[in-house]
Symmetry: C2
């Protein structure tokens, strides 16, 4: 089935916001064998929305719209859809209850403007938005489907996952879809693709593979489609086992979305705890780990020892080590990891120290030189990375690399 | 002048790549007073490109195309543009020299396929691409402009900055543009817009305002256009002064891109230093501060005391405080801020402790309850926030709020 994604919002047209919604939706749709034929970003003007809806319905079976809802936008999308479909707005009881409950939690009064969020066209199926106040709206018209969702990423994501994708999938012939993903770290995309080429060529036709590379890691998504769910599950897992037999040394985790999820999985599996000692990554390790709900089960906290003064005073890195070897050295990262682990009373510690740039490089330690370390009660593993002169990319790659070394050490000590 | 951006590429339609090109181009265009009316992403099929070009030329004066060039794509865009304009491909000498020089540096032979990159439609002006091998192409047709560029971000960026934007700006009447922005925190968009309504209504016609809200802050961009650069600069700064006189209490900074840039500006202005003690924000304060190059000049480092154990052992929060008032309390956040400041030997400390959710809430302290604190040598300021049940938004808002409180305390103690 062909899909057009319509993103409404001036903030997109002026480039203030990057259209990550469209990419996230495309990924979900492609993974379920839908064919995204166009993505269109338009302003929140009624005539643009109408024109775009008309031409999109000519080229696709499904039109998914995000944005242009909410009281400050005067609910322009809702009014336009009403006019387009010849419908009228009615108050939806469940959506109103949802608005009221959400405002109660925040301690706010529900104003007449807020109450308008519960108005929906009378020809739509309401998709209850448990992440916000603007409901999703599903229209079945002349054999085609139009869905309107809020543009707030969390709300779109919730509605897509919980309501839209299940409903869309139920319209497909091969309605059963099973997916898995494998996170690889420490190997480039083209090398990985060479390594697993024979496996990929031999895959059955109903199994598809997508490479989704990010800074310092690759997510491989494997999708099986068919009519018998149990059969395609068996088939998919058998193929995944073959893949792991070939490229297992680069596998960070299975069915995770990120390296920190791989770490979470591993820590919870073994009941181990973690701390961090960061210099050049400046808190990004801790921030990425605590982004996941439930991180307090394995993460005790961490140290951001950006200055040498704090490396000494807070983490007890020896003054003569910093003098002799410098802050960016194997000796310093070793003491950072070992001392952090002891001070936080954790099973494992990860540590980073490097030159993120753009300045601070020397001929011996150019910008992008980073030492990483992982310590357990039994051993400390260190490694030097050379990551070039893009500050934010260096931080991301450092974090993904030190997470990989942590996973390997835990595997070694606790078993896979 | 109205602009449509056309992004060609299947990798965009399947969601493998986020369309950052379109956002970057939109920013450049908007900053120069061009009006981006639509962004369209299409596949690299000739019929899609032709149809999209036709409809885009109906709604805009300028169509900027990226992608679909390069030998692996069979130069589909080039062939399509030739057919569309009734042109034919000829070899461009300067582009061929560019290909040859680039390959020489890399030590490769120029193959016939590479040589084809120097072919261009005979009705275009060639834009020499010093970042790659595919030339940009500028078409002037019936008073409208069509430009085709490669989709590789660095190459697009180079061609936009060096060739396309200067040529486009030369077509404008008011070619001089001056911009400034003001960051507001602690006020919602609609309240701010009410507060400054009279100022906005009284603005001269050549000055435009855009509200760019993010989680817990608003960036207001003010743009003046005209022919005399010095005159519009004076005019712009006078209007900005009036704005600050009206809404100054909510102003976090001027000409910053983010709250952490406001903090950086203020710290550097007064030569003061900073540390952080984070529980619910889990390292995000430190991570955001160290994202900026040069953060080591004012940021000493920070403490991520996620567990109560670390709050006690690392930051010296008293056991009986945690027992009596709990980790999410004014008493705890006060000790976190004060003790962190002393232990890091910094002028200022910011601290956060709260229930980020989705679990961990109680009737007294529901999910989204956050205590923030700022400590100096002279005083400690605390505040409680109620931020709802979206984990990542709660973290972003907490960070922006505590940064604002820090800015206010520094203003109070050091002067603006």
């Amino acid at each position: 089935m062909k899909v057009v994604i319509v993103s409404i919002g001036d903030e997109l047209l002026i480039g203030q916001v990057v259209n990550t919604n469209a990419a996230a939706m495309s990924q979900m749709l492609t993974a379920s064998n839908f064919d995204v034929v166009r993505v269109v970003t338009i302003s929140d003007k009624a005539e643009d929305i109408e024109e775009c809806l008309r031409t999109s319905l000519q080229m696709a079976d499904v039109v998914l719209i995000t944005g242009g809802l909410g009281p400050t936008k005067d609910d322009i999308t809702k009014h336009t859809l009403c006019r387009f479909f010849g419908a009228k707005l009615i108050e939806d009881a469940a959506s109103l209850r949802n608005v009221e409950e959400r405002f109660k939690v925040l301690g706010y009064e529900v104003t007449p403007v807020n109450r308008m969020q519960a108005l929906v066209p009378d020809n739509c199926t309401v998709l209850l938005n448990k992440m916000g106040t603007a409901p999703g709206m599903w229209f079945d018209v002349d054999g085609k489907i139009v869905v309107s969702m809020p543009g707030v990423p969390d709300e779109m994501q919730y509605l897509m996952e919980q309501c839209v994708m299940p409903k869309l999938r139920s319209r497909l012939d091969n309605s059963e879809i099973v997916q898995t993903n494998v996170i690889f770290q420490g190997i480039g995309e083209s090398f990985l693709s060479d390594l697993v080429e024979q496996w990929e060529l031999a895959l059955p036709k109903n199994i598809k593979v997508a490479y989704l590379p990010q800074a310092g890691m690759i997510k491989m998504r494997i999708t099986a489609t068919g009519t018998d769910r149990q059969a395609i599950e068996r088939q998919l897992f058998a193929e995944r086992d073959k893949l792991i037999a070939i490229a297992g040394q680069y596998v960070a985790g299975i069915d995770c979305q990120s390296m920190e999820e791989c770490v979470a999985q591993k820590m919870l599996q073994h009941g181990t705890t973690l701390t961090s000692a960061e210099s050049c990554t400046g808190g990004t390790i801790a921030s990425r780990i605590t982004r996941l709900p439930g991180a307090s089960q394995y993460f005790k906290g961490g140290f951001v020892v950006y200055s040498n003064e704090l490396k000494e005073n807070i983490l007890g890195v020896r003054h003569d080590t910093l003098e002799t070897f410098g802050a960016v050295s194997e000796e310093t990262v070793t003491q950072m990891a070992e001392n952090a682990r002891r001070r936080a009373n954790a099973d494992y510690a990860v540590a980073t120290t490097g030159v993120a740039g753009p300045s601070g490089g020397t001929p011996q330690k150019p910008v992008g030189t980073v030492w990483i370390g992982v310590a357990s009660a039994h051993k400390t593993v260190t490694r030097v990375l050379h990551l070039g002169n893009n500050r934010s990319r260096t931080v991301e790659r450092t974090v993904n690399n030190v997470f990989m070394d942590l996973l390997k050490l835990v595997d070694e000590e606790c078993g896979r």
